[in-house]
Chain length 124, copies 2
């Protein structure tokens, strides 16, 4: 069994912004190696790879479980509708793969502590 | 000396989204009480209070130091230009107050660990 984490962000016309997300994805591995075998990034729009392409990459690399985490702060239409619809459209192609969508990061129980640590470290 | 933390988010036409940010701000107090005396929220646009109103509230409550943290993932125009410009325009009104802008949360050194913890807790 191989477990993938797929980080989905909005995507930007600014390539620097997309690179920031890919850099974050690379850093994630150090913190997730006990739970996920590898990590991929995908974008809702304006950048590549797309979400279906990201799912396909995970499967091609041997994933049998894919956890999708939306890198979004607010539960707007993208989080509530667009991402689930795109993922659901891909499911029939991978009926033997377990694909789950985690809460978007804005809803994380760890957010308050994270923002606090970020604010405190900025003034030390 | 009284130290305030002012959390700035984009603001949304969806009131639920603005409420999410205010709820987060309330939760922050538990993690920041050793460093900040109180916490306020303000919005760049589409919601109240505005950034100048948020700064004024901090000062009215006795803040002599205000740390502004942009609750934004990407270093787009809002983070790079709009927020600094609005804050700079307010500075002349508060020449005896130390106002600093922390890095936006997307740039935080703690982001990778935070996203990792969020993803891992979602699959446990």
């Amino acid at each position: 069994m191989s477990r993938a984490l797929l980080v989905i962000s909005h995507g930007s016309r600014r390539e620097a912004s997309n690179t920031e997300v890919k850099t974050l994805t690379d850093k994630l591995a150090a913190f997730t190696k006990d739970r996920f075998d590898f990590i991929e990034a995908a974008f809702l729009e304006l950048a590549e790879p797309s979400i279906p392409a990201g799912i396909k990459t995970c499967v091609d690399k041997g994933a049998t479980q894919i956890t999708i985490i939306p890198y979004f702060l607010a539960a707007g239409r993208h989080v509530a509708e667009d991402i689930p619809e795109i993922v659901d459209a891909a499911r029939p192609d991978y009926t033997d793969i377990e694909i789950t969508i985690a809460p978007h990061i804005g809803q994380s129980d760890f957010m308050a502590e994270f923002v606090a640590n970020t604010a405190i470290s900025s003034v030390k």
